[in-house]
Symmetry: C3
């Protein structure tokens, strides 16, 4: 059995942003030497998501607008912000988009359909964040 653990570092210029990390994940799978297995990818922070969907700029815009509708950013809406935070919305957005994804590795590559791409979604950025990539298999 082989395993590999990598930590990507991301720092977005905008507070809310979407970053395609597919090629970085593929690089780590290649380095692992794993031919058959799985890869887990998750932010190590609770105001961000890793998810799989389309690399299409209109959709990224739609996601942000839709999340704002489901859970508005207004600070006064949330008890969490009584702690001095102003990012309660980002905990909810990350819940909708999901924390992690698990992707199959087959023949040493991400076993993806045509349009599947791995995204890091930042909901409270402008500071360094880490994304864990854990590969297990043989």
């Amino acid at each position: 059995m082989k395993t590999r653990t990598a930590y990507l570092t991301l720092e977005t210029k905008k507070r809310i942003d979407f970053v395609n990390i597919t090629s970085q994940v593929e690089d780590e799978v290649g380095k692992s030497g794993v031919k058959e297995g799985i890869v887990l990818i998750n932010p190590m922070h609770i105001t961000a998501s890793v998810y799989v969907n389309d690399a299409e700029s209109g959709l990224l815009h739609d996601f942000e607008k839709w999340l704002e509708k489901l859970a508005p950013k207004d600070v006064g809406l949330y008890k969490h912000n009584l702690t001095g935070e102003d990012n309660a919305y980002s905990h909810l957005w990350r819940t909708v988009m999901g924390r992690e994804t698990v992707v199959a590795v087959t023949n040493g590559r991400l076993d993806f359909g045509t349009w599947e791409q791995v995204y890091y979604a930042e909901f409270d950025g402008q500071r360094k964040k880490r994304v864990l990539v854990k590969i297990i298999g043989e």
Copy 2:
């Protein structure tokens, strides 16, 4: 360590539909020979979900009505549809329902509670779609 990769093919008659794939997943687990491990199940498409919930027709109706409320199908609501698509809603629905599920395999079987069932949820169907089943363990 043992691994098995299978691709199920589904084509729903309706654009939006829910298909119970539990027995197909169980068959693949049986063929894998894995007694202890996990199985990952995900669509290879970004307008569909695999999730675990109840096999109850009323609930399936409730899911569809609720998703329509959270993200209406109206084409004009979404920038993604400016690309010529009309399926932006389906990318959002799949986000709510989740892309994938990971299920434990114990004693060679899906380690499920009484009511857990694996569903494929199609949000833009009437064409062939693939679902990946990846089993790893020993």
Copy 3:
């Protein structure tokens, strides 16, 4: 390869409740002897969630209020309740919060960022429920 399967039992006093199970999961990882691998944690029931987020009481309050907004508890809103159930909302809430989480195990420990905690979210409790913890690795 090593695997371990454990079943936690939880019974909340309130119908809706949030329980931090991080230390119980860590105990199981310790017992497994796995140094590098993953751990899958999921309820074996379809009206509950396991998720990773902040251990902050205001946020738990925000989650419940927000879920009630996204999918009100009113019995008459849902076809599922025509079966005699009154818990349709809990199937939807669990969909928003997610069924399972998969966490990396590195150097024999949960490979978490500073604020990541594993929660069991009960949406139809006051009775015994089981949570599966499956560890695989080496």
